[in-house]
């Protein structure tokens, strides 16, 4: 038996402490996940109210200012809002988002510009040489609505000024605790959905003070709430992904420990057998 007891013992020790760490992290992210999920479910419920209302207003009228509608300008610059985490150890969470963003960029072929929430995405795309026009780095689950406004306002301004022609949001959608999916959706310009769910009505709608004012207010609001909702959702996914990753790591560590302790016992037995042979053959020689 080539492995020495000393070596195996050392490995057991390191794997044990690793297991402690991953297990603790698993518990921490499970607790954080629970909290984030509660926030997410609550905000999701009411923000859907807002986005649905705004979406309905957009689809049910025919007189939206043209600049916000699809097909009114050539898309040269696309702004991607990319939501990743600022911390690692969360499995494929960040790489999934990054892959999705790259895929969206390949399809579009326009010049990409990036607003990064979370340092992982920012660092990656900065290395790729893509222009970063805005970022936010603090833990996403504590983001305030005000911070979202400050993040989205420059984007809307640039869109209105024609510096960017399209806004795409890349984030992780929460399907369940064990299933999350990286998604890319286009926020601006709007694609009016002509589906059956939205009833077209012929009622006149009163706008106050004027239709332009209403749309100039609603468009930023729409973007802000979408971004806010996505950030909260993505934070929930981050914790879920980290919990999964840490659970797998803990399981692996336990499997490894089992194997190592088997090896250790074998090495120990081999050593005892060796010693016995030595003693017996020693006393045999004395006769």
């Amino acid at each position: 038996m080539a492995v020495s007891m000393q070596d195996v013992k050392r490995r057991i020790k390191s794997v044990t402490s690793m297991e402690h760490i991953t297990n603790a992290m698993k518990l921490v992210s499970a607790a954080k996940l629970r909290r984030a999920k509660a926030t997410f479910e609550q905000t999701n419920k009411q923000l859907h109210f807002i986005t649905d209302t705004i979406g309905e207003i957009f689809t049910s009228t025919t007189n939206i200012p043209e600049e916000y509608l699809e097909g009114n300008r050539e898309i040269k610059n696309t702004c991607y809002i990319i939501l990743t985490s600022s911390k690692g150890l969360c499995g494929g969470f960040n790489s999934n988002v990054i892959r999705k963003a790259e895929e969206a960029m390949r399809v579009r072929k326009s010049v990409p510009k990036i607003v990064a929430v979370g340092s992982k995405g920012r660092d990656y795309f900065a290395k790729e040489g893509i222009e970063i026009i805005g970022d936010y780095e603090d833990p996403p689950e504590t983001i305030s609505f005000l911070a979202t406004q400050q993040l989205s306002r420059p984007i809307i301004k640039m869109y209105e000024d024609g510096e960017i022609d399209e806004v795409v949001l890349v984030y992780t959608a929460y399907l369940s605790t064990i299933d999350q999916q990286a998604t890319a959706i286009r926020m601006l310009p709007f694609q009016p959905e002509k589906n059956a769910n939205v009833m077209m009505h012929d009622k006149d709608i009163e706008y106050g003070p004027s239709m332009e004012a209403v749309f100039n207010y609603l468009v930023p609001k729409y973007v802000e709430t979408m971004v806010y909702n996505a950030i909260v959702e993505s934070a929930t996914c981050e914790h879920a992904a980290r919990r999964m990753a840490m659970e797998n790591a803990t399981d692996n560590a336990r499997d490894m420990l089992q194997e190592l302790s088997l090896n250790y016992n074998r090495a120990r037995q081999a050593a005892i057998t060796n010693q016995l042979i030595e003693i017996v053959s020693g006393s045999e020689a004395q006769k």
Binding site: Q46, F145, K203, Y207, G208, P209, A213, V214, K221, Y228
Partner: protein
């Protein structure tokens, strides 16, 4: 008894109010406006100010201070406000302090170039004043 309609008031942090009301009075950008059931469809922007609702079957009003947003009037009404507070929930001392703080800031930074901060301070002042008014019973003196 007047006919009632469903009203939902939403803020970024919570669903502020849901229920059947007979009359809703809100400060739109064009001035105070009242909505009753079967109002023609409308989408209007709101100012900082006082919202009053008369719940179905009641004669008195509940008032709240709201800060900007929009109202979407269809068969039911959805009101979105950046911030909303019932009269009885308002901390008068804090509102007073906010008001003084905003006033002080504005007088100190009179020639300020940064338009955005000035506007923010003005809105903060308006909000504080509206909260104080509402806490003191509002215009109707309820």
């Amino acid at each position: 008894m007047a006919k009632s309609f469903k009203l939902s008031v939403i803020t970024p942090s919570k669903i502020f109010y849901e229920g059947d009301v007979e009359l809703l009075v809100v400060p739109t950008l064009e001035g105070e406006e009242g909505f009753m059931a079967n109002h023609s469809w409308a989408t209007k922007l709101l100012n900082v100010g006082e919202m009053a609702v008369q719940e179905a079957g009641k004669s008195d009003f509940r008032i709240a201070s709201i800060a900007g947003g929009f109202i979407d009037v269809k068969d039911s009404v959805i009101l979105y406000a950046d911030h909303a507070e019932w009269a009885e929930e308002i901390d008068k001392q804090r509102a007073q302090k906010d008001k003084e703080f905003a006033e002080e800031w504005l007088s100190k930074n009179k020639g300020e170039k940064d338009e955005y901060s000035v506007r923010r301070a003005e809105v903060a002042l308006k909000k504080a004043i509206s909260r104080l008014n509402v806490a003191n019973g509002g215009r109707r003196g309820i």
